[in-house]
């Protein structure tokens, strides 16, 4: 009896091992598919112009050419692109997160007539896609002379982000009302309640939403494409798209790949540092939905 059960157990661990082996195979194949093109991009950027066309291709260039990155360093358009993107995405997310936090606090914890109606109104905003409003919005900003400046990309974001408000409100609803009530009885002002109690409580959720928004703002393309004409005003994504079109005619692929890689680098670094928080918050927000 004892022997029988142990052989059964053995075969079970064996079949488990085989299953694990195949699972690793799937995971590794998936991993190669996902990371392969990115490695290829880096590899291309380290070749010289003719090395790119070598057959069969080299994965590790020999010798390694840093030439593309040296030339990128002197591209003033790339520098202004970085600057503009940093200005837009930081301003929008820092101020916009603040307004979003306040609104979420109000929606979740304060009393006000017609609060739910207001919230529903905002939710309608989530259902209207950007392409449906972009033309009148463009004409609006064009009338007040804001086209070809960063303002049309910054100003609307300062008023808050509905998605963020939605998630923070949900997060705050998990915190008992009594926390706010007792602070009120102790005579705390709403500002104190917000800065001393509510904000510290929702900081992890805010951080996650902030990072997601920042990455979204950093990677935005359609908005900047519509509004920005002069090369020195353009944001990074438009700059790399334009430059890549220019250099593609000269088949300068090392430069183009270096350009793409450099433009991705800041977000990649942010992701690798905060990857646990980002991944957890994404999973969480998906579950909530």
């Amino acid at each position: 009896m004892l022997a029988k059960s142990s052989t059964h157990k053995l075969s079970q661990t064996q079949s488990r091992r085989i299953a694990d082996f195949f699972i690793y195979l799937i995971l590794i194949a998936g991993g190669i598919l996902m990371i392969g093109p990115l490695l290829w991009m880096i590899s291309t950027s380290l070749k010289d112009k003719t090395g790119v066309f070598q057959l069969p291709p080299q994965w590790i260039p020999n010798p390694i050419h840093w030439d593309a990155y040296q030339r990128l360093f002197h591209l003033s358009q790339l520098q202004t692109g970085f600057m503009n993107t940093i200005i837009v995405s930081l301003t929008v997310t820092v101020i916009g997160s603040f307004t979003s936090c306040m609104a979420a606090f109000s929606f979740a914890k304060l009393r006000m007539p017609h609060k739910n109606a207001m919230f529903l109104l905002l939710l309608v905003g989530l259902m209207i896609p950007y392409p449906a409003v972009m033309i009148p919005q463009f004409m609006m900003f064009s009338t007040i002379g804001w086209v070809d400046s960063l303002k049309p990309l910054i100003i609307p974001g300062l008023f808050g982000n509905i998605t963020m408000i939605f998630f923070l409100r949900q997060y705050l609803q998990g915190i008992p009302d009594s926390v706010v009530e007792s602070a009120k009885i102790d005579g705390a002002s709403y500002w104190t309640i917000f800065t001393r109690i509510i904000f510290p409580l929702m900081r992890p959720a805010v951080a996650a939403q902030f990072i997601l928004w920042f990455m979204g703002a950093w990677n935005d393309y359609l908005g900047p494409l519509i509004y920005l004409n002069s090369p020195e005003k353009q944001t990074l994504q438009v700059v790399i798209a334009n430059l890549s079109a220019t250099y593609a005619t000269q088949t300068d692929y090392p430069l183009i790949m270096g350009l793409s890689f450099i433009s991705m680098l800041p977000i990649l670094i942010i992701f690798l540092i905060f990857q646990r928080q980002i991944i957890e918050s994404v999973a969480l927000s998906g579950m909530k939905n």
Partner: protein, 313 residues
């Protein structure tokens, strides 16, 4: 003021009436209102007003500079016979075949990760890198990878003896090529949500099923998959919303909308008409059609959310 303490929890209508009169509550109302004011104003100015204006403009011959003349339903009539419109709509629709493919692949990867093998976190991170990467950079990279002679894709295919086409210039391959790219980029996100859903299934469900003699397939069919249904629904909806607004990939990889308009999407065509040809009235009409489609899909999602909320409560 002694009544305020009693009024802390307004439950019935009579009390509510008194609560509204209390100055403490008036102050709370004012503060609450001020706090939600910015997003509400932002919504009115930057979303609701432009949306309403787009509806109005769709009935005019607006060109962005001159006078706007009311033309009634003419834009919508033109749309009916505009081959470019229908082609771009078809292209957009065609590229959505990436949605089921992506969901199946991401579910397989999530199931593989959910066994909790060593290196799970590592793989999860690797799969997620394309998701966070900028679409513009990714599109530029894939444009190069799809190069007919020296691109990565064809070189890999050459290893198994297949001579790949010039993907982005070929009318028949440009859409599948863009689909493959969007699947590649979105896989990590869907996988992550599926992983969270699979891991949230209580272990006792499986134990009970095992006691009843269920095999792996039955456990998958009757427990795992049904438990992942909300996530599937959410992903289908968000992917349809995102997919119907495909623009960046198309504009960067095929700047002219592809050979014979083979890759132009609806948003690309709207953008082209509005900002290149300055037919803003016509473009608005198309954007309204797109907006209505997306609005319905999103409303469906909210409706579904409501229902599942009730179930949980």
């Amino acid at each position: 003021m002694e009544s305020t303490v009693k009024d802390k929890a307004p439950t019935d209508g009579r009390r509510k009436g008194r609560v509204r009169d209390s100055s403490l509550y008036k102050k709370e109302h004012r503060v609450a209102f001020l706090m939600i004011l910015p997003p509400v104003i932002g919504f009115l100015i930057f979303t609701l007003f432009p949306a309403a204006y787009a509806v109005f403009a769709s009935f005019t011959d607006w060109n962005g500079i001159g006078q706007m003349n009311w033309v009634g339903l003419r834009n919508f009539q033109v749309m009916l016979t505009d081959n470019y419109f229908w082609t771009s709509l078809w292209n957009t629709f065609f590229m959505m075949i990436g949605i089921p493919i992506g969901l199946i692949l991401s579910f397989i990867l999530a199931s593989a990760l959910s066994r909790g093998l060593k290196g799970t976190t590592f793989f999860r991170t690797i799969y997620y890198i394309p998701v966070i990467s900028s679409l513009a950079a990714i599109a530029i990279m894939w444009q190069w990878a799809y190069n007919g002679d020296y691109g990565l894709v064809n070189q890999v295919l050459a290893l198994v003896g297949i001579k790949g086409p010039n993907w982005l210039q070929n009318v028949h391959t440009v859409k599948p090529a863009i689909v493959a790219m969007t699947v590649w980029k979105g896989l990590g996100y869907s996988m992550l949500l599926y992983l969270a859903a699979i891991q949230s299934v209580p272990q006792t469900f499986y134990e009970a099923a095992e006691l009843d003699g269920a095999n792996s397939w039955q456990k998958f069919k009757n427990i795992t998959w049904p438990m992942c249904k909300p996530v599937t629904f959410f992903l289908v909806i968000t992917n349809i919303i995102g997919g119907s607004q495909l623009f960046t990939e198309v504009n960067i990889m095929t700047p002219t909308g592809g050979t014979e308009f083979s890759s132009a999407t609806i948003v690309w065509y709207i953008w082209q008409k509005a900002f290149k040809n300055f037919q803003m009235g016509y473009a608005s009409a198309m954007s309204i059609v797109l907006g209505i489609i997306i609005f319905i899909v999103t409303a469906l999602q909210f409706y579904q959310n409501r229902r599942s909320d009730y179930k949980l409560g």
